[in-house]
Symmetry: C2
Subunit: 221 residues, 2 copies
């Protein structure tokens, strides 16, 4: 496995697949910003390598081997993000793209050393769990998208999608960060936007943004 490109496909499949563990070629194409034809091509190769289960026109699934590769890439990615943020103090919104490159350029043994140096962190700076060297993924308490919460719900911010760095800059500006307590003050059915109280601030967020922020709900009394 010397190939950056295959690694990207496996990570993408892992991250984008549905609850049944399946995914359609188109979704991969959109996500990696390449043509569907390129995806078909690569799926044949990944299938030949025993990394995905692929039959023409059917949903695609990772094999156990493909899953191990994908989890390992995600481990590398999240450890590098943690390092860049916690140790090098790089800006929050830049670490995703840098880690994206580094994950392809570091051996397992290097990443294990990094894990040790960071003292085996369980979550990355965006709140995503970091698989350990055996592929075990730490469990959060269950989270719910902010967009799914209703008026007067309270909770703690657990995860913010790192897909768009814009979002991260915006969130930081509004005082939204992992571990913050929030309360839903209002929700508009009309456009799905929510108003929350975070710290001393009141912040309104569009449905799209709210669906990228995940919350651990407070226990019900």
């Amino acid at each position: 496995m010397k190939n950056i490109s295959k690694e990207d496909y496996l990570s993408a499949i892992y991250k984008l697949r549905d609850d049944a563990g399946e995914i359609k070629p188109n979704l991969i194409a959109e996500n990696l910003e390449i043509s569907p034809a390129a995806v078909t091509d690569m799926l044949k190769k990944l299938s030949a390598d025993g990394l995905v289960q692929y039959r023409k026109y059917k949903g695609i699934k990772l094999t156990a081997k493909g899953e191990r590769f994908a989890v390992n890439m995600i481990r590398k990615h999240r450890l590098w993000e943690t390092f860049l943020y916690e140790v090098l103090k790089m800006p929050w919104e830049k670490i995703h793209d840098e880690a994206e490159k580094l994950e392809h350029s570091s051996s397992d043994s290097l990443v294990d050393k990094l894990d040790e140096f960071l003292n085996y962190p369980k979550f990355d700076p965006h709140g995503y769990p970091i698989p350990d060297k055996n592929g075990l993924i730490p469990k959060h308490k269950p989270v719910i998208a902010l967009s799914e919460m209703i008026k007067n719900d309270k909770g703690v911010i657990a995860r913010i999608s790192d897909f768009k760095s814009e979002l991260l800059v915006y969130a930081a500006k509004k005082g939204i960060s992992i571990g913050q307590k929030i309360t839903v003050k209002d929700k508009l059915e009309f456009d799905g936007s929510v108003t929350i109280i975070v710290g001393i601030n009141e912040v309104s967020l569009s449905r799209k943004i709210a669906s990228s922020i995940f919350i651990i709900l407070d226990e019900q009394k």
Copy 2:
């Protein structure tokens, strides 16, 4: 400049060029382990990009722009080596190859942060100088290859070539490391091998190995 391959050519030219700053295509080909034809191809592209001065059948030189790129790559390489060795405690002989990959996958701003975190080191673990962010290269006291020393010469080990990891493992086993004091006990003209005293040990080294170890000579009394 998104291209790993061009970066490799520039670093190689920088490292291998002669005292006049020139290099022959063949040397690049040998070093990168590719065909001379591939080198000709790439030289045309590098020349078109204004990175090397190239005319058919003539010696090759870096332009000022090419030099800046090369020095920047070397800065990245040596900072990553320092990090891997000093911080992650990776084995000495592995850091070169890991850094080789990382140097292509890290932005200037990431590497500047790394430099800061490492507290602006001046030399890497093999004793090579680390260019600063402006491309300035720290000066050692002048060094001489161990193979050039004569009987009874004394000095301090300043640099060990990191080209072959085998050499590094061997050197470590013999107690040879940066900063150690040595004395040349004997030198055989016959095969160029030298016997040195390092710490409490007496070690014999072939001419080839001795030519990869560089020494700061003691001041003459």
